[in-house]
Assembly symmetry: C2
Homo-oligomer: 391 residues x 2
Amino acid sequence: MSNLNTFHLLRACPKSKARAGELLTSHGMVPTPVFLPVASQATVKTLTPEEIKSIGMKMVLANTYHLYLRPGIDVIEKMGGLHEFMGWDGAILTDSGGYQIFSLAALRQVSNEGVVFRSHIDGSQHLLTPELAIQFQEALGADIIMVLDECPAHDVSQERAQVALRRTHDWAERCLKVHRRKGQALYAIVQGGIFPELRQQSAKYLTALDFPGYAVGGLSLGEPKKLTLAMIEETVALLPEHKPRYLMGVGSPEDIVAGVARGIDIFDSALPTRVARNGALFTRLGRVNIGNAAFARMEGPVEPGCGCYTCRTFSVAYLHHLFDRQELLAYRLATIHNLTFINNLMQEIRDTVLDGTFSAFQEHFLSKYQPTDEQVRLDQKQKWLKSKDLS
Amino acid sequence: MSNLNTFHLLRACPKSKARAGELLTSHGMVPTPVFLPVASQATVKTLTPEEIKSIGMKMVLANTYHLYLRPGIDVIEKMGGLHEFMGWDGAILTDSGGYQIFSLAALRQVSNEGVVFRSHIDGSQHLLTPELAIQFQEALGADIIMVLDECPAHDVSQERAQVALRRTHDWAERCLKVHRRKGQALYAIVQGGIFPELRQQSAKYLTALDFPGYAVGGLSLGEPKKLTLAMIEETVALLPEHKPRYLMGVGSPEDIVAGVARGIDIFDSALPTRVARNGALFTRLGRVNIGNAAFARMEGPVEPGCGCYTCRTFSVAYLHHLFDRQELLAYRLATIHNLTFINNLMQEIRDTVLDGTFSAFQEHFLSKYQPTDEQVRLDQKQKWLKSKDLS
């Protein structure tokens, strides 16, 4: 096997589980820890590929469920694959669609064979099996692809979680068995809900199958944050040191820092781009809501010292005005700012892991950054899940 | 007086009234004929100033009515004026707000003093007088500003149109009297509805006041196109040769070509950007609707040979997908294409006027370009006027 899609661990933090590394992909080297912006529909909402690149991002996340429904895997294959279709020559990771089927689709029927679901767009009926999930992802041609997994809600019983877990393991093996595409890495997904026993069982089982990377799935779905962190710890402790670890669906600044400190290398989340479109902009002190009347006459950038295009070019008052008038440029300028904030955060995290000062950085960052109130966060998440705008 | 905001006529077409020239402004030279994209709310919808510039556009149109209501003239003045506020160092023309008050605002009361109107946003009551229109536009600091005029509907009686015209003339004089700002040119607006007599009367009256430029207002409001063209001819015939002529609110490719052939130098319209957001893209053969199912699997650019960012980077199938998923990037990519199309058209018009081949170009262009059916066009216009999305 070539050295494509291998992971090099460069340094581990002496005081925490944080690590710095690099992922080699067919579309360039990706320094880790890394955050992937979400491009579910083959577009990071509002941005061109050039803008994503100029922010400094090297890998994006696209979604098999969404792309299968629209425009169709065959269309993207005909256009030369996903990179070509969306004009992005950096790395891509595709999720298998498991999570979307279990959160978005109407009327699911799961069997050992796979899952029958109805499209959330037009109600049409479809079957997804582990073998099809791999076939679709091979056709899309991402650099990293994911196994099909069953994702029960965070509040199911342990018995129900155990059944889903057995199926997830069986499906992971079937995915591994049929995956052929060169230069493309297939990652497993550790499940097990909020049950430490199941998490351990899953980590051990999948580790034995020797995947090139491991995701921690089924978290950040509405459970309390303390539990999320405990489950990450349980899982990561049993994952192999020399393979990348991917925490799915986590992307607030404070959660990323907490995830890195617990040994996570890869993150993805729609949060930074979604909240940007709602006018919530990241600063070192926490999120600010640009719609606030206090900003109507404010000169200077959103975050003094921020080098992003938005902060270099426009005043807070102008951004406030664009949001007030619901001008489309607003959503893009806010997205550029938030992704730059997150990318700079990842860079700083990596630099401090490399020079051995991550713990001090973490302490300093968290002493300044005011996280969004947990109840507000949970309510927003529920509202978002219900709205089915999961892209 | 300095040579800022002067107009140089470079060449006139031997077979038509078309002309090529240059407008010197405090923010650069603007070659004419020129089309101004609409930036009513201090943003050309979806685009950054850099994108407008890279398309090749040198002047944009902003709107005093909109900016007065939100964010407020005082806010923009505090931020250093309109150029600074919106990050645009090219030329700007501001409309006085007259047209918007008469089309957008609720409950107008016109008197000789001015017009009392209610905001279409929050119903608050405001007074606009000719003197205030100049005061606001001086504060915004555009390179070219417009007099306040009364704009009756296109179907009023001649008596009613005559009353409005008298007021428009009186207001134009009052605007001229109070305008002081250096490096800023104040243009008059010829009105008179669809009545040749009134158009002539207006052109003569305003020409005698010696404004540095003249607009033809109150057209393209729903009257048949034949009448529009006849009124342009009536008006232009009486305007001074050495001053720029601005046809307000006209911007379809076929209408621009017709306007140039009748002696117009400056055009503005929301049409190219508005139809772009609806998925209608300009090509040399006419508009195509990117939402059409026939485009779902089409490789290659929207317009082969088009050098715009959109056509250089993305396939028709990708654009179709973005529109289908209502992705925000869609509106921007379509806007870039349509404005590039119009800007290239203006350049070609100018080049052919300069080398004496405009009439051949006009014939060739119109033989290929399939205009949108007039009834469809009028219906769309009415729908748009009713929706009050006049930005």
